[in-house]
C-alpha cells in the first residue's frame, strides 16, 4: 500500500524543494487544447453538426446533377455558398455548438475544478479550450468545403482556374476567421451567461440578420457584414437562371463595401476583445458545484 507513496515521494523530492511556478502558458494551452479537441470530437453533438455541414455539399451536388452546363460556374457556386450558407448560417451554428460549451459547460458541471487545481493560469485554461473549439469549428466546415471541391472538380479539370483557386483559398480563410471570431464571442457568452443559448441565438440570427441588412454604416455593426465583405463578387448571374437560385445570386451581394483590410481588422479586434473578456470572466468565475 505504501509502495506507491514511497516512490512518488522520491520522485517528488526535487519539485517539493523548489519554489513552485505555474506551468508555462504555451505548454498548458497546447495540453488543454489537445485534450479538449479529443473531448469535443467524442461528443454526440459533433455528428449533428457534421450533418448540418453537409448542406453546401448537397447544394453543389444538386447543381452538378440537375443544372449541368447552365452557366453556373464553380466560382459562382463557391462565392454564393460562402456568402449565403457558410457566413450567415454554418459559421454561427458551428461556433455556437462548440464555443458556448467550451468553458461554460465545465464551469457549470463542476469538472473545471480538476484543471483549476493544477499549476496553470486560468487564462491558459480559457485559451486552450477556446483554441480547441475554434479548431473544431474550422475543421468541420473545411471538411465540407473539401467535399464541395471534389464534386466541383469532378466536372472536369478545366474548373481549376487561378481565379477559382484564389477564391477557394479565400473561402477557407473566411471560414477560419469567422469560426475563430464567432467562437471567441460565443465562448465569452458561455462563460458569462448561466443559460447562454438564447442570447447566442438572438445575437447570431436576430442582431446579425437584422443589422447586416440595414444599408449604409449600420450594417458594419455586424460580424456577418464584414465576413461577407471579404467574399469576392462573382461575375453577374445570368438572367435565365432557374427561380430560387437565380434570385439568390442576384440579391446576395447588395451591400455597401468597405475596404477588406478594415473588415479583417474589425473581425480580429472583436475576436481579441472577446478573448480578453472571456479570460477576465473566467478569472473571476466561481465554482458552484
Amino acid at each position: 500500500m505504501m509502495d506507491a507513496m514511497n516512490e512518488t515521494d522520491t520522485m517528488n523530492r526535487t519539485s517539493a524543494t523548489s519554489a513552485p511556478a505555474p506551468l508555462p502558458s504555451l505548454i498548458s494551452i497546447v495540453w488543454i487544447a489537445w485534450f479538449s479537441v479529443r473531448e469535443m470530437a467524442r461528443r454526440r453533438r459533433l455528428i449533428s453538426l457534421g450533418l448540418i455541414n453537409l448542406l453546401p455539399v448537397l447544394v453543389v451536388l444538386a447543381i452538378r446533377i440537375w443544372f449541368p452546363g447552365e452557366g453556373i460556374t464553380a466560382q459562382m457556386q463557391l462565392a454564393a455558398l460562402s456568402h449565403d450558407t457558410f457566413i450567415p448560417f454554418l459559421i454561427p451554428i458551428a461556433a455556437m455548438a462548440v464555443g458556448i460549451p467550451a468553458i461554460g459547460e465545465q464551469v457549470e458541471d463542476g469538472t473545471i475544478v480538476f484543471t483549476w487545481t493544477r499549476p496553470i493560469r486560468r487564462r491558459a485554461i480559457y485559451l486552450g479550450r477556446l483554441f480547441a473549439a475554434q479548431m473544431v469549428a474550422t475543421l468541420l466546415m473545411s471538411g465540407s468545403l473539401v467535399l464541395c471541391f471534389v464534386i466541383m472538380v469532378s466536372e472536369g479539370l478545366q474548373v481549376i482556374t487561378f481565379e477559382f483557386l484564389k477564391l477557394y483559398l479565400l473561402t477557407f480563410m473566411i471560414i477560419g476567421l469567422g469560426a475563430f471570431t464567432y467562437s471567441a464571442l460565443f465562448a465569452a457568452f458561455g462563460t458569462f451567461f448561466k443559460k447562454p443559448v438564447l442570447p447566442a441565438i438572438l445575437f447570431a440570427f436576430g442582431w446579425e440578420n437584422l443589422v447586416s441588412n440595414i444599408p449604409a454604416r449600420v450594417q458594419e455593426l455586424s460580424l456577418r457584414f464584414h465576413l461577407q465583405n471579404l467574399v469576392e463578387r462573382p461575375p453577374a448571374a445570368p438572367d435565365d437562371l432557374p427561380g430560387l437560385l437565380g434570385a439568390l445570386l442576384s440579391t446576395s451581394f447588395k451591400r455597401d463595401p468597405v475596404p477588406e483590410i478594415k473588415s479583417v481588422a474589425i473581425l480580429l479586434v472583436v475576436m481579441f476583445l472577446a478573448m480578453l473578456l472571456g479570460t477576465w470572466l473566467l478569472q473571476h468565475k466561481e465554482i458552484e458545484k
Binding site: E7, W31, F35, D109, T111, T117, R121
Partner: protein, 317 residues
C-alpha cells in the same frame, strides 16, 4: 471562533475571519482557523458550510470577506503552489468521455511531469486504488465508488503536501472505505496536511481525533475531541470506572479537583463508579496519582460521552 489551531507544527492552511455570502444566504460566517501537519477532520451536518469553506481554502471561490492562505499564499493568485496541493471535490462530476488512465495522465501532465513520470505514477496509483483493470474504461461507466477512487487518485498522485478531501468516502464499499481511511491516516503520519470533511462522525473518528466543528457557517470548535469536550461546561464528561472497591473509590473521588459528580451504578455484571468531570484531561492526568497514593484499585476506565457524536450533539444543541 479563535483557536490555537489544529494539527502540529506551523500552519499550512489558515483562514482569517473568512466569510462567504451567496445573495442573502450566509454560507460561511467569520471563520478563523489554522491547520498544521497531520489529519484534521472538518465536521458538520449537510449544509453547514463545509464545502464552501473547502472551496475557499482551495482557491476555487473568493471569500466575501477575510482571507485564506495555503503555505501563506493565495492559491487563486499564486497558482504555481497547486503543485503542492491536492483537491478531491465532493461533486461527482468527472469528464465522463475520458478513460481512467487518460484522466489521471492528463492531471499529472498538467502538473508538469514528463511522459515517463506520468506513466509511472499513473500505474502506481491505479494499482493503489485497484483500478488497473478498469483503467481503459470511460469514466461515465464507473460506479460511484470507482469515481471516488479516481478522484482521490488525482488528488494524491503528485504527492502533495496539503490535501483537501471533501467527503472522500461517499459511495465507497466497506473495503475501499477502510483502505482509504488507512491511507488518509498514513498521509498524516508522513507529515502531510490533510483536511478531510465529512458529515459522518464515525468516519472522521477513524481518521483523526483532530477536528474542526462547523455549524451553520460558523466554526464552533477546533482541536482534539477531548480538548473540545472539555470546553463544554454545561455537559461534563462522563467516565465509568470499574473497580473491586467501588464504594471506597466513589467516596474518595467526591470533592476531588475536576470532579463535579460521583455515583455508583449497579449493573448485572457488578458495580461501577460513574464520574462526571468538567476537565477530562486534568482528571485523567490526576487519576494515576490518586490511585497510587491512596492504594485504590481501578480495573477499567471508559469514557462514555466524549465520542465525536456526543461532542457534535452538545455543540450544536
Amino acid at each position: 471562533m479563535m483557536g490555537a489551531g489544529v494539527g502540529s507544527t506551523e500552519a499550512r492552511i489558515s483562514a482569517d475571519r473568512v466569510g462567504k455570502w451567496f445573495g442573502e444566504v450566509i454560507a460561511v460566517n467569520n471563520c478563523t482557523l489554522s491547520v498544521g501537519t497531520g489529519v484534521v477532520g472538518l465536521l458538520g451536518a449537510n449544509g453547514a458550510g463545509k464545502s464552501t469553506l473547502f472551496k475557499m481554502l482551495a482557491g476555487l471561490i473568493e471569500p466575501s470577506h477575510g482571507s485564506v492562505r495555503v503555505f501563506g499564499r493565495k492559491l487563486r493568485e499564486d497558482v504555481g503552489w497547486y503543485r503542492r496541493v491536492g483537491f478531491c471535490p465532493e461533486s461527482d462530476a468527472l469528464p465522463g468521455w475520458m478513460t481512467g488512465r487518460e484522466f489521471l495522465s492528463l492531471m499529472l501532465r498538467l502538473m508538469g511531469y514528463s511522459k515517463a513520470e506520468v506513466n509511472t505514477r499513473v500505474d502506481l496509483w491505479l494499482d493503489r486504488f485497484e483500478l488497473t483493470a478498469a483503467a481503459g474504461r470511460r469514466l461515465d461507466g464507473y460506479s460511484k465508488g470507482m469515481r471516488q477512487k479516481i478522484k482521490l487518485a488525482q488528488a494524491l498522485a503528485h504527492d502533495p503536501e496539503v490535501i483537501f478531501l471533501d467527503e472522500p468516502l461517499n459511495g465507497m464499499d466497506p473495503v475501499s472505505r477502510k483502505q482509504s481511511i488507512d491511507l488518509v491516516r498514513e498521509l498524516g503520519e508522513r507529515g502531510r496536511t490533510v483536511l478531510v470533511s465529512s458529515h459522518i462522525l464515525p468516519e472522521v473518528e477513524e481518521m483523526t481525533s483532530q477536528i474542526i466543528l462547523i455549524d451553520r457557517g460558523k466554526v464552533l470548535a477546533e482541536g482534539s475531541v477531548t480538548e473540545i469536550r472539555d470546553k463544554i461546561p454545561e455537559h461534563p464528561t462522563t467516565v465509568a470506572l470499574a473497580s473491586a472497591e467501588c464504594r471506597r473509590l466513589a467516596g474518595f473521588l467526591i470533592g476531588q479537583e475536576h470532579v463535579v459528580g460521583v455515583q455508583v451504578e449497579t449493573l448485572p455484571e457488578g458495580e461501577r463508579v460513574i464520574v462526571r468531570t468538567d476537565h477530562a484531561i486534568g482528571f485523567y492526568r490526576s487519576l494515576p496519582e490518586w490511585i497510587l497514593k491512596n492504594n485504590l484499585t481501578v480495573d477499567e476506565i471508559l469514557t462514555l460521552d466524549d465520542s465525536l457524536e456526543a461532542v457534535f450533539q452538545y455543540l450544536t444543541e
